[in-house]
């Protein structure tokens, strides 16, 4: 969506392609990223900062796990569900991952329809994304409940290293909070699209800035990021 002219930010002017184009952009005045609005640039930088937070959490978890002297609980047993008369390892997590990845698909479609100014489809897809996100958080709540009833606590658990519960609740909790806030903002953006606020350029309640359809894409950047982080949490926490 580099060619958008929303938000009053003009399309990028003609310039050399490839590496020369990059050099020309950075040597130019006014803007270094010629196709990014302020909002989009801010979201990218915020996500970079947030990446460092999640990286630190995951590195702390890896340190705890690889330096512990007591056994680490076996993920495929701990996270198994007893269904249809058998213990199926990781089944809940598999479904959760599927749900969240699907929500990225609906989000991407919502962005596409937003730039076509197709209000109905955009709202429907945003609501679908929010619903999938809420489902994910709901299943996470179920998972937490199950583990808590089995005796997992931040300070200990029946199977081994106490850091298992501590890192699990901290990291999935921090990610779940990100998803929850995402759902909240998805609903807000969906409401704004539905009421036509982006068509009219209504001013935000707090910022008094005119809104436009680009907010859907900025929202999408955040949502895809939260998704991507989950892939790493899934790989390092559940599959290791």
């Amino acid at each position: 969506m580099g060619e958008t002219t929303l938000n009053g930010f003009g399309a990028k002017p003609a310039r050399p392609s490839g590496i020369r184009g990059v050099a020309a952009d950075w040597a130019s005045d006014q803007r270094a990223f010629k196709s990014a609005s302020w909002g989009k640039a801010m979201m990218w930088i915020f996500l970079l900062s947030d990446t460092f937070i999640f990286s630190c959490f995951l590195l702390a978890y890896m340190t705890a796990r690889s330096s512990t002297t007591v056994p680490w609980p076996n993920a495929s047993e701990v996270f198994a569900l007893h269904m249809f008369g058998a213990d199926i390892p990781l089944i809940l997590i598999a479904i959760m991952t599927f749900v969240l990845i699907s929500s990225s698909g609906t989000m991407a479609m919502a962005v596409n329809f937003a730039y076509r100014k197709n209000k109905g489809a955009t709202v429907a897809l945003l609501l679908a994304t929010a619903a999938l996100g809420a489902t994910f958080v709901g299943m996470q709540a179920f998972e937490w409940t199950k583990l808590i009833t089995e005796g997992v606590r931040p300070w200990g658990n029946p199977w081994g290293a106490p850091q298992f519960g501590a890192t699990f609740f901290m990291i999935t909790g921090f990610h779940g909070t990100h998803v929850s806030f995402g759902v909240l903002f998805l609903l807000i953006v969906a409401r704004k699209v539905w009421r036509g606020e982006y068509d009219r350029g209504d001013r935000g309640f707090f910022t008094s800035r005119p809104g436009d359809y680009e907010h859907v894409e900025t929202m999408g950047l955040y949502w895809h990021f939260v998704d991507l982080v989950w892939v790493f949490i899934f790989a390092f926490f559940y599959l290791w």
Binding site: A27, S28, R31, I45, C56, P154, W155, Q163, F206, R209
Partner: protein, 591 residues
């Protein structure tokens, strides 16, 4: 067809981005309190930072009273001494220096220097300040909480930070400290995103990155570093908070306290040190880089000469910023990590000396054969160079493992980092305030008070910290409220300690002259006019002084040149403002 527009006007691309629509305040509250104007936010940030900084100054007096005259003041117990140390360090490093450089100078100077009307997200910028204020209030609240503030040392090392033997460890102190830090980081992130995006995406026509004043480069690079380094502190704070409140064992190994086995087990205290210093070392440069940038502009302006090696200066800032992320474990040589790590981190640490030395040489070469005006800002800038070189050289000592091991945890380390990270940036802050106060208020600071303030502060700082190196070399450990059984070595040390304490009190009181000057000159200072230093950068070319909301009146300035056109041969004056198209429209601007 003859194109009548001047050549340079033609060469500058048209505006790509429409004007920032400003929020126009409707009442006194939204103009001066809940203001979205970066300049007001800057003054709010600075005022808050200085206010809490004064608390830290008083704490340093109390510490010096104890060290200089041990046993004389019965209210300074060892517990209280540790609380003073902790709060002094944390307030000075984070709530004063970081907030003042980025929140204060960043907010005031970035939009003006790049020719923007305001920060790109004024509302978020306002939130940044209010969350910072909340963080300061939470921190200050710990002085009144039961058990008092935390006495864990400013590095908050676990396990002692959250154990009962440390002041505040099992009461409110440590909790309030961690919550305050978390709030600070959230607030800073909101401001930091603004500073970064304003520099990358919000410049005026003609303002390329390589035409920006070095002040902007320093603050911008420091902001990006802070956005990447503070996450590590955030994570460390969250985890320690869980250790303290929920009973997790991230940082807590199995422990016996007072003969009783605690419920902790299996955590890694070293992990905290890694997270803390992954933040902590970049933090040194988060404070230093804005100082580097500002001092470059002060020297160039007050020596009437272009900065020597501008490109090198920019790249040195960027390279120092990048390298500072891979040196953190030089704070941990004695923590018991693998010796090979020490080798690696010592090497990277010493490599940082190269770009830093480039900067120092360039400052000196800028001064060389310059028309040096010994104004108060220039005096402070020169003091910075001297102090920074001194502090930097002892840094080379401490960066080497074999030298660091015996010196670690002595007063030598205290002297080193106060020289390089305390005195040097503070010198720049003073110089910058004397330099930009006329733009902020329209009046000059009183000169004789400024000179008095400078000489007492400069000589006094050396009187404090030079002897402290010797005290450390003799072997006096840091963090000890008194020498106790080790008193055998203290005949010369006692005298020196008393001397240092008296000097510290004198320097402290000299700051009161400075504060008085700030208030007095607001009313009685000499009228400054728009550009008293005859400087080139854009903030001096605003239509009115102080700059109005929106900074530029009807039209944003167009930039034709870099910020360092001083004493250009053939030019009608010895400076050419950045928005002056000379020689196309030979304009001597007396605006």
């Amino acid at each position: 067809m003859v194109d009548a527009t001047p050549r340079m006007e033609r060469d500058i691309p048209p505006a790509e981005v429409p004007e920032l629509e400003l929020y126009h305040p409707k009442s006194w509250w939204t103009t001066y309190v809940f203001s979205q104007d970066a300049k007001v936010i800057a003054i709010q940030y600075s005022g808050t930072a200085v206010a809490i900084g004064l608390v830290a100054l008083v704490l340093s007096w109390l510490m010096r009273l104890q060290l200089g005259f041990p046993g004389t003041f019965s209210f300074i117990t060892p517990e209280a001494y540790y609380q003073f140390i902790t709060m002094h360090g944390m307030i000075m490093v984070i709530y004063l220096l970081t907030a003042l450089f980025l929140g204060g100078f960043g907010n005031y100077l970035i939009p003006l220097m790049v020719g923007a009307r305001d920060m790109v997200f004024p509302y978020v910028n306002m939130l940044s300040f209010w969350i910072y204020l909340l963080a300061v209030l939470v921190l200050a609240a710990s002085f009144f909480a039961p058990g008092g503030p935390t006495g864990a040392g400013w590095t908050l090392y676990p396990p002692q930070a959250i154990l009962g033997g440390t002041p505040g460890g099992q009461s409110w102190g440590i909790i309030l400290m961690l919550v305050s830090l978390i709030l600070f980081i959230i607030g800073f992130t909101m401001g930091g995103l603004n500073y970064a995006v304003t520099v990358i995406q919000g410049r005026t026509r003609g303002m390329t990155l390589m035409r920006m004043p070095l002040t902007v480069w320093g603050i911008f690079t420091a902001t990006v570093m802070a956005l990447l380094a503070f996450p590590a502190l955030f994570v460390a704070c969250v985890m320690m908070l869980f250790d303290r409140v929920l009973g997790t064992s991230f940082f807590m190994p199995a422990l016996v306290e007072m003969g009783e086995q605690l419920s902790y087990g299996g955590g890694s205290p070293i992990l905290f040190q890694h997270l803390f210093w992954f933040f902590g070392h970049p933090e040194v440069y988060i404070v230093a880089l804005p100082a580097f940038g500002i001092v470059s502009d002060l020297i160039s302006t007050h020596a009437r000469k272009n900065i020597f090696g501008y490109r090198m200066m920019v790249w040195a800032i960027v390279i120092i910023g990048a390298l500072s992320f891979i040196v953190w474990a030089h704070h941990m040589y004695v923590s018991g990590m693998h010796p090979w790590f020490g080798f690696f981190f010592a090497t990277t640490t010493l490599i940082i000396a190269v770009p830093t030395a480039i900067k120092v040489y360039n400052w000196v070469l800028t001064l060389w054969r310059g028309d040096i005006h010994l104004t108060v800002p220039m005096l402070f800038a020169l003091a910075f160079i001297v102090t920074f070189v001194n502090g930097g050289l002892t840094g080379l000592f401490l960066g080497n493992v074999v030298v660091d091991v015996p010196l670690s945890d002595t007063m030598f380390v205290v002297a080193h980092f106060h020289m390089v990270m305390g005195v040097a940036p503070i010198m720049v802050i003073f110089g910058a305030i004397y330099h930009w106060y006329p733009k902020i208020t329209g009046r000059m600071l009183e000169d004789w008070m400024g000179k008095f303030h400078f000489w007492v502060t400069f000589v006094g700082a050396y009187a404090i910290f030079f002897p402290m190196h010797y005290v450390g070399l003799v072997g006096v450990p840091r963090r000890y409220p008194e020498m106790g059984e080790a008193a055998f070595m203290t005949a010369p040390v006692d005298n020196l300690n008393a001397f240092i304490s008296v000097a510290a009190l004198v320097v402290g009181f000299a700051q009161m002259v400075f504060l008085f000057n700030l208030v007095w000159s607001l009313r009685f200072g000499k009228e400054a006019g728009p550009n008293p230093w005859r400087a080139t950068s854009l903030e001096w070319q605003t239509p009115t002084t102080p700059p109005p909301h929106g900074n530029w009146g009807d039209e944003r300035p167009v930039v034709y040149r870099w910020a360092y056109d001083y004493s250009v041969p053939g030019a009608p004056e010895d400076f050419i403002p950045q928005n002056d198209p000379w020689p196309d429209k030979p304009a001597t601007r007396a605006a």
